[in-house]
Symmetry: C2
Subunit: 363 residues, 2 copies
């Protein structure tokens, strides 16, 4: 018997109840007319969540990390210069993925906990093919200014990781000049992990790699199956879509858009603010740079002399609460607390504060 | 409201009820001790289903087609000769995927509906790095003799697609000399689509590509997360596992192993035999070569003058039954009927026979 958890770490978060119920609905085939309707509506709703009108907006059949791979494998030609803003684990991962795709990577390193330095990134190379940055760094709890990168990108393509921003904080891919974006379902979208919401505009698609090294993530072939806007009459079979997961994403997106994107963003902001205020009232020190903190994912320093892992274990065993360890060099000195999607609620903020106070008081 | 379907095509099939219920259980984080237990047990049960003792046996976080990609991307060094037995769509796809990985592909073409000609495949090249073949061709309903390929492979690695065989018909990866295998969850394993059960032995792993072009499917990195047998103490984070889907696969495998693998195989055989006999009694002609027919996936010729798509539509709308069109050149001249996993039941065979008779009688 699985014990219920409060998933208040860096993700997955507890799904919206509608999303969980959809997983258990009768399964549909991937070519069933009813499923194709669900897929089309899902792509439409993803366009809203991304803030884009891109025809090529779809849920890839794998997790967010595969979205990162799809972004680079479809757009990096051998020898292309790719400037990557590295201000956390996921920026770092981008350098690895881009290099495997044959890129000449120019990494612009930052101290972790700091936002992307737009000027340094834009001046890192005179004519990059791609500029890549993470909107919301899951490893550090920092938000960066994607719009400023878009305004200064010149001829480069702007590639953005929105895994921990989509459905939680303001995201306007088209207005900000994002050419290629990927995300995940298991954070603020409030759906189980397993899909990677993806979007690519015509400008990037026209420059794509004709036959990418990946067959599974080949956007040229995938577009035919999901029925790119305007071309829905011709469906071509590519692979068997994970139909239960897509139905669940459909339910999660419906829930979010019923509430309204701006209302959802405001809810995340208010709850994150109250969590961060509460942590500071407890005398804890926030890790992410002030003014650049994500409301949906909060990083906080482990107090001197406290055993980070023991506290997390106690939270899990005593209160059924999962929070995250830090990432990379901060594994034992930072905790990550997510209030994302269905968990962006005042009661969840109160609960994790009270539980942390309880456990720290005992240790 | 989603209408319930009898999914009697080439997959997905209706999941085992236990597998569906597991999807709706409270979600666990991918690093939760309870989830890691579920993952370990899932890998153990996959070893049984594959007939292998390979430490590196795990569910990849994407669908079966990504399993194919993982198989080649981790093992093909640029310029390697890969002999591919092509006797249907999935053999054909292997040639595309292998070529993208830099292989020199030697395709051994067969008429569709025929099993792999072992002698021709084994003599196609004097020293291939890899010999690849599909065990159960989903596109044609044909079973091939993997053990014979294994016996004659020499120094080559044997790479096998078991998407439509695992959990449905006899599969003994170790006994047959399979070095690398991939499968899907949505056929005879009776779980929704979304994961690719994968196995690779030490012989193949030792020859692997050190830094494969794919980060997402890099087995060297993945092994650390799933806790290869013997090394479970050190878990390293790679990507967020699709925890709901893994829990569902755990439930499906538990159901299968409770029944017993050999009993499950016998059930698929008996039900497939009765479907095929019934189709012939109706005067229909089976497509796959006699003596090599899969019990779990039956191909049958569309009678002269019958509109293939109209019959499928009528089955769906009148009886809620999905069967499949043919693949490739046989799209309109063949139907594919699957009795897989939970659907490998006498009542499902009876139902599809009666419904086909009803619809054909009206047309």
């Amino acid at each position: 018997m699985i014990r219920e958890r409060h998933l208040l770490g860096p993700g997955p978060s507890n799904p919206y109840p509608e999303a969980t119920r959809a997983l258990a609905e009768p399964l549909l085939g991937h070519l069933d007319p009813e499923f194709l309707r669900i897929m089309d509506e899902t792509c439409d709703m993803l366009r809203e969540a991304w803030g884009t009108s891109n025809a090529r907006t779809l849920p890839l059949s794998a997790t967010g990390s595969a979205g990162m791979e799809a972004a680079f494998v479809n757009t990096v030609h051998p020898g292309d210069v790719v400037v990557v803003a590295v201000n956390g684990l996921f920026g770092q991962r981008m350098t690895d993925v881009a290099a495997r795709c044959g890129a000449e990577v120019v990494a612009v390193d930052h101290d972790w906990g700091q936002p992307v330095d737009v000027d340094r990134v834009l001046s890192a190379h005179p004519s990059p093919a791609i500029i890549a940055a993470v909107h919301a760094e899951t490893s550090t709890g920092v938000r960066s200014d994607i719009a400023a990168l878009g305004a200064g990108k010149g001829d480069a393509l702007l590639l953005t990781d929105a895994v921990t921003s989509i459905g939680g904080i303001e995201l306007r891919a088209d207005d900000w000049g994002v050419d290629i974006g990927y995300a995940g379902t298991q954070k603020c979208l409030g759906v189980a992990p397993g899909l990677a919401p993806f979007t690519i505009n015509d400008r990037a698609f026209d420059r794509r790699v004709e036959t990418p090294r990946s067959w599974y993530l080949d956007l040229g072939m995938l577009g035919g199956y999901v029925g790119e806007a305007g071309g829905r009459a011709q469906r071509t079979y590519h692979h068997t879509a994970p139909t239960a997961m897509v139905a669940s994403l459909h339910a999660g997106l419906t829930r979010i858009l019923d509430e309204g994107l701006e209302a959802v963003w405001a809810r995340h902001q208010a709850v994150g603010d109250s969590l961060q205020a509460g942590l500071e009232e407890m005398g804890l020190e926030l890790f992410a740079a002030e003014g650049h903190r994500l409301p949906d994912l909060t990083t906080v320093r482990v107090p001197e002399g406290v055993d980070s892992a023991a506290v997390r274990r106690e939270l899990l065993e005593r209160h059924g609460i999962e929070i995250g360890a830090g990432a990379g060099a901060y594994a034992t000195s930072v905790w990550r607390i997510g209030l994302m999607g269905h968990n962006a609620r005042p009661d969840a903020a109160l609960l994790v504060l009270a539980a942390l106070e309880d456990v720290l008081g005992r240790s």
